[in-house]
């Protein structure tokens, strides 16, 4: 039951974009069309899941064993950077078509604050490995949802008349703000699962 609570919170109540403000840069950059949004979401979900497992193991198995917790930021970002690099190489070999489809998004994931953010968060929240993985997957789903909703709206928005100064990023941000307001309505749902 607690696990379901974690999932609901990660996707709706504390949505990674509209509530925790993680992953905004690619969120605004990639969301102009729905298919690129979907591609990015999958890439993020994939890296997010693997990265959270690996960083978890590094934290518990190495950093905490040797009292090196202050090296957390450095080791985590290096792990993430190498992971993204490896995923790129593996994907190129195994599925060149998928690799082509994801294109330039893959290396950009390293600087996506969602990955590093979630990696640090699960340690702070003191989750065990299972809870961390579920949280990471759920966050990925929440991110995908946010991205897809947002890009669908932006596609519609591009067909309307927007004042010149508001075009592009400003109107996108205000749209995101309105969606964030909608998401606030989910607050408290997780109380049911307590």
């Amino acid at each position: 039951m607690e696990l379901i609570g974690i999932i609901i919170v990660a996707i709706f109540v504390n949505n990674v974009v509209f509530s925790q403000f993680l992953g905004i840069c690619p969120f605004l950059g990639v969301s102009k069309k729905v298919d690129t949004a979907i591609g990015m979401s999958f890439a993020v979900m994939f890296v997010l899941t693997i990265a959270s497992i690996v960083t978890f193991i590094v934290q518990k198995g190495i950093l905490e064993q040797f009292g090196l917790e202050y090296l957390q930021t450095i080791t985590f970002i290096l792990v993430i950077a190498s992971l993204v690099q490896m995923v790129e190489i593996v994907l190129k070999k195994i599925s060149p078509s998928l690799y082509q489809a994801l294109g330039v998004f893959l290396p950009l994931i390293t600087t996506n604050c969602v990955i590093l953010g979630v990696a640090i968060l699960v340690i702070q929240k003191d989750f065990n490995l299972l809870e961390s993985v579920i949280y990471a997957v759920a966050t990925g789903i929440g991110y995908a949802m946010a991205l897809i909703i947002f890009s669908s709206i932006r596609e519609q928005l591009s067909l309307t008349k927007v004042p010149k100064t508001m075009q592009g990023i400003p109107i996108a941000l205000i749209t995101a703000g309105v969606i964030a307001m909608a998401f606030m309505g989910f607050s408290g749902i997780d109380q049911v699962f307590k």
């Binding site: 090296l71 957390q72 950077a81 508001m166 205000i174």
Partner: protein, 199 residues
């Protein structure tokens, strides 16, 4: 010296990292629920920017091209860890309110971006000026954003009462308000820039 002064002003206005280059939005939205939080976040980022720009410019000829990104990341992460430890030790309440976003400075595209596009190709002195300029521009943007949100949301700026709290719109201090205020701020800054460039 003129060139360096240009570099400085560039970072504050023409290429303001947040309002023009649109980098570093995650911390901008998350840490600006009050003016003081926004300012602290900006200053912490500026510290990292100046230090990493300096070191990377110093070492630019000693880092082989193929490993430059990992090398930059390690150097930047080092300074982020240092500021994190210093803040936890000497301003713990502030460190608590900035929370997760202090270590997230390491993935702030501004820092890595400037390292790659400026510090690794320019003199140390210019890189320092660039760090100061970009950092200052970021801090001003963040402080402005935080002040606006705090004022409209709670009637205070830097915890000084400007008008009674009950007339404030709480939404501005919450998540949606962040998006909306930043959107308008960028739009206004764009207008201001466009006007200035057509003069």
């Amino acid at each position: 010296m003129n060139k360096n002064l240009n570099v400085l002003i560039n970072g504050i206005i023409r290429e303001n990292p947040l309002l023009v280059l649109l980098l570093g939005m995650c911390p901008a939205l998350a840490t600006t629920s009050s003016a003081i939080n926004g300012m602290s976040m900006g200053l912490a980022t500026m510290f990292v920017l100046i230090c990493s720009n300096t070191v990377i410019s110093l070492l630019k000829n000693m880092i082989p091209d193929m490993v430059r990104i990992p090398a930059f990341i390690v150097i930047i992460a080092a300074f982020v860890t240092i500021i994190e430890m210093l803040m936890n030790a000497f301003v713990p309440a502030l460190a608590d309110s900035l929370g997760l976003f202090i270590p997230l400075i390491v993935v702030n595209c501004t820092v890595l971006g400037r390292a790659e596009s400026f510090a690794s190709r320019n003199s140390v002195l210019s890189s320092v000026f660039d760090g100061v300029g970009m950092g200052f521009g970021f801090t001003i943007a963040l402080t402005l954003l935080g002040a606006l949100r705090e004022l409209m949301g709670t009637g205070k700026i830097f915890s000084l009462n400007i008008y009674p709290e009950q007339f404030g719109s709480l939404i501005f201090v919450l998540a949606p308000g962040a998006f909306i205020v930043l959107g308008y701020l960028i739009a206004i800054f764009n207008k201001f820039q466009n006007k200035a460039s057509t003069n």
